[in-house]
């Protein structure tokens, strides 16, 4: 497991999915970073579509694997659902507000309400189910 974590962290450094950098990449509008409570209120709680929120950290190997996977899947949903990326080291308050104790933790929001959550890496099928549930909730 440790080896796996380390692999993930190395992957993060060598890939373009380092959260710090991703802000400067032209990601679609429905995938965005959130760093403050105000931002969260506006882009997640008041969003017109469901939003899944990925609490992640640069030092967390599994996050580096889950993040890109999630982005790919959200991109495939053509705007039906959005994704907010929250780096817990930059937005500690938000992480504390939502009682995040493990990264990655993914929450799903619709109409300002939390409608689902999972922690850690999960199988592709489960990911699809999670996104489907969020859209159809």
């Amino acid at each position: 497991m440790l080896k796996f974590l380390r692999f993930g962290a190395n992957l993060a450094r060598s890939s373009t999915f380092v959260p710090k950098q991703s802000r400067f990449f032209s990601t679609p509008q429905h995938i965005f970073d959130v760093n403050s409570v105000e931002d969260f209120n506006e882009k997640v709680l008041q969003a017109s579509t469901p939003v899944i929120v990925d609490f992640h950290a640069e030092w967390c190997g599994p996050c580096q694997i889950l993040g890109p996977k999630l982005e790919e899947k959200i991109n495939g949903r053509e705007g039906e659902i959005a994704m907010a990326k929250i780096n817990v080291d930059y937005a500690g308050e938000l992480a504390m507000d939502y009682e995040i104790s493990v990264v990655p933790t993914v929450l799903a929001f619709k109409d300002g309400e939390k409608i689902g959550s999972f922690t850690g890496l999960i199988e592709d099928e489960q990911l699809d189910d999670f996104i489907n549930d969020a859209i159809s909730a």
Binding site: L5, R6, R13, A57, W59, V88, D89, M96, S101, V102
Partner: protein, 657 residues
Amino acid sequence: MFRDFCGCFQNLRNQSSDDQIKENQLSMGVVASGMPPPTSTRSNPPTNGEPDAKLAKCEDSAPRTSLKEALKILATSKAAIIFDNEDEVVKEAVGIIENAAKVAEVANFEVAKVQVDKLTKKRIQYLTLHDSWPMIYVKGDAVGGIIDLKMLSESNRLSEWLKDHQYDLIVIGGGSGGLAAAKEAARLGKKVACLDFVKPSPPGTTWGLGGTCVNVGCIPKKLMHQASLLGHSIHDAKKFGWKLPEGEIKHNWGHLRDSVQDHISSLNWGYRVQLREKTVTYINSYGEFTGPFEISATNKKKKVEKLTADRFLISTGLRPKYPEIPGAKEYTITSDDLFQLTYPPGKTLTVGASYVSLECAGFLHGLGFDVTVMVRSILLRGFDQDMAERIRKHMVSYGMKFENGVPSKIEQIEEKTDEKAGRYMVYWEKKLEDGSVVTAQEEYNTILMAIGREAMTDDVGLDLAGVKRARSKKVLGKREQSTVPYIYAIGDVLEGTPELTPVAIQAGRVLMRRLIEGANELTEYDQIPTTVFTPLEYGCCGLSEEDAIAKHGKDNIIIYHNVFNPLEYTIPERMDKDHCYVKLICLRHEEEKVIGFHILTPNAGEVTQGFGIALKLSATKADFDRLIGIHPTVAENFTTLTLEKKEGDGELQASGC
């Protein structure tokens, strides 16, 4: 169901223990806020922990309250007085406190009276180091005698104290000690805030929650030490038959730094989560006393928040010192910066003979950098000097350079960038063998100042609060209690105690149990095992030779020692093998009780931690002798010591098996 695939910092929460904590909070809340008046006596035996049954109304003929009960009452009453005979002083003290309570408009207030026997009195005086008697407690803090109480009362602090405050405890400094104390206090049901704020170092380095050890001390240091040891293992591996690719084996500084910093970030996060789970309020602000019971907390955006509490804990720790020479603050770095250095340090000078200097020099050399250590005089002041000299010899054989002197000036030749170290000229007065002094100079890429650390107590408002400090700027304490009865200090910032993370953690926990529950417990600040992670590690516990002689006299100690050759070093023919050494310092009488334990060896930390318990249990040389060794290990050398160290003996030579 998704938890099977664990993420980072999986926190296994135990529901039942959470419930337990909540229960504690409830019951403690009741005890703390509304202690009923003392009505019952010991002849009316206490039942199922009802608070009023715990209090003894003492008459001359009444049986005395037991130590355990007395400590509990003192810790949990709003105010209490402890005495052996109820005399005029007791009455006067009660009057003063009740008056103050009236001023403070505290309702249903009564002073708990605790009558104890001579033995209990002695123990409580020992626990608090207060010798005034009868003794007064306010909100669980030992105030002292009637004179101390009068002083508090006259300055109006007593009535201020008796008023309600926002928090039960504010901890200033979220390092090892502060966090441990904050969490322990919260576990015991107290409302706690923990302030942590890192002022950037002169080069601008800053870090997260957790203090020195986690961010710029033990943790990154040991990881980099390990990186350095691994470099040697690669070379050893060849001798053990591993076929390695031809060519130079290189180390990548940036990769190591990132891996180390990733680990630290995960620890920072973990601490944050723990604080929330233990219901400690974490405030990322700089705390400063602006009133007897008021802290002003300033955050990054300069927003100031005022907080009040019944009790305060100063755990602000130490930061590196800079010498007062031209160029020091502009061009040098310290251990605050090294572990985040964006560029490989290159040719490095470490200044100072502290363990910080030697450890950093050691791992940098192991990573392949050209390293010089500049010292004024002896290495590792306060440590056993025979061992310190052995460390120096080992480091010299290892290829590290030593210079005697103190830098007088540092000039920049080329500015550093994020990618590349700068170039600096260091000047110092060098004493030649004939006694003459010349100004020497040498160019380095990185200069690491490790000449000592100073207490972070200047900007905490301690003078305003009335907390007295030693010349070292550390807080003077009776045990961990400062000169202000409701302000405590632990860890590196407390005068006269060892500057070690586990000491601070222990002190924080034990202090909170003593203050909140009335635990009959003290932190033992002696016989603390510790290890200096120089390339060849040095572990010790108990006294140095110098201290043993000073304390017991030369004729009253006997020293056993030996050199040894770790088996792992034989095949690779490591030069380190000639430097491994063990030493036991014993009292000549008292059945040769072991009072000092010293070892220079790989993995000294692991060895010393285990043997530390032997010293705690007052082991004698005979106990070490009847212990059977584990063969082949380095630690087994302690079970077979027969050689007595005598003055004038030549160097010991390791022999074969």
